[in-house]
Structures are given as structure tokens and as C-alpha cells.
Symmetry: C2
Subunit: 125 residues, 2 copies
């Protein structure tokens, strides 16, 4: 994997990859298209279990987590896998299968994108 800053084409299989979007929410009213893209990312984090999973991956040493290592969010393994897949579809995680297990990591451009969205611009202060 290269470290280029080229906007997502997210990992293999993500059929609905989300391109990094948009200006800060405080900068100007969003267009319908921007809102569609950004809302998809927020929606993916709008579920407590997915948020815990995202946080578990994002905060993990080395930035990568094996599905097999996630067991403390109070849901079954299939449910974990389901939610991780949703996060991947929203462009927030990438995944790689190695042998039996799938490993997830945060898509840095997605995190940066959301961070930018919520940046507080001087105009809004």
C-alpha cells in the first residue's frame, strides 16, 4: 500500500467508497451532493456499537485490529463483522484478509475528512 494522498479508492471490495468530502460545516451551506457524502460517514458513526468498534480500531496500537481480537463490545462475532463491514462500506475502515482472519484499519483520509468537516472556522467562532 502506498502512502500517497490520493483520495480514497478504498480497499478492495468497498463498492460504495466515500470520497473525502467537504469544507467545514461552518464555512458555507452544504450542497445536496456534499451533504449526501458527508452524511454517509456520520451515519456510519451514528450507532453506539459501530462507534465503539471504530474507536477500538482507531486507538489500537499499530492502527490495525484483527476481527478475532474484538470481543468486548457486548455483541456477537457475526454482529461485530457486520458492523465492521458497514464502516468499511462508508469508507471509514479498510480491511485485508490474511489467512483465516480479516484485519481492519482506519482510513486516514476519512478521519481527516471528518475532522475537517467539524473544524471550527474563525467565521463561526
Amino acid at each position: 500500500m502506498s502512502k500517497s494522498k490520493v483520495p480514497l479508492p478504498l480497499a478492495s471490495g468497498a463498492s460504495e467508497a466515500v470520497a473525502p468530502c467537504c469544507p467545514p460545516l461552518t464555512e458555507r451551506p452544504f450542497t445536496a451532493e456534499e451533504a449526501e457524502t458527508a452524511a454517509r460517514m456520520f451515519k456510519a458513526l451514528g450507532d453506539p456499537v459501530r462507534l465503539r468498534l471504530f474507536s477500538a480500531v482507531a486507538s489500537h496500537k499499530g492502527g490495525e485490529v484483527c476481527v478475532c481480537d474484538i470481543s468486548d463490545v457486548g455483541v456477537s462475532q457475526p454482529t461485530v463483522s457486520h458492523h465492521l463491514k458497514k464502516l468499511k462500506e462508508a469508507g471509514l475502515l479498510t480491511s485485508e484478509r490474511r489467512g483465516t482472519w480479516v484485519y481492519y484499519r482506519v482510513e486516514p483520509s476519512a478521519l481527516a475528512s471528518m475532522s475537517r468537516l467539524l473544524a471550527v472556522t474563525p467565521a463561526a467562532a
Copy 2:
């Protein structure tokens, strides 16, 4: 629709100690409680119309918008009002009625809270 109306710590009005939630998502795995609180904010922004409305309010000169001034998001006035109410319930907006109209503004602590959530910490870089 029939979600409980348990108010968030960020409720408008009395500027009672806003419980800012939470640490950056990249800092450590979220607890169930943190995830509940934060997911509610993300969920509120996980809808394109609500996101456009939030952006319209957040980017408006003076930081305040009259409901009567919002007409360009492609939905009816009652729908606008409905979504603004949802954003308020999630603690992202505050409102004030003056005469006939309701005026909305962004709850700064909510924006700061979400911004912090998505901050990219060195550990995650």
C-alpha cells in the same frame, strides 16, 4: 419516531455544565456510555437534509438563522422544522422563539465536542 426524549447533557437553555463527550476516537476504545452519547450526535448529522440545515445554521453570518429564512434545502417548511428540532434534541443546536419565529444557532460546545472526537492524535498517525 418513538425514541425516548431523554435530554442530552447538551440541552439548550440553562447553560448547565455541558458534559463534553468524549476523548478522541483514536485515543482509546470508547466505553458503552461514551459511545451512546457520541453516537447520538453523529446520528443527528447522519441525514443529508439535517446536515444541510446544520451547515446552513453553522455558516450563517451572526451564527443565527430564523426558520423563516431557510427555504433552499428542497424540503417543506414543516420538514425543516422537524429536522431542526431533531438537531436541537441531539444537543447540536439551540433555539429561541421571538415573536412568530424560532431562531436557531449552533451549540458551540457540541461542535467543539465533535471536533475533539475526530481529532487525529499522534498515536494514531
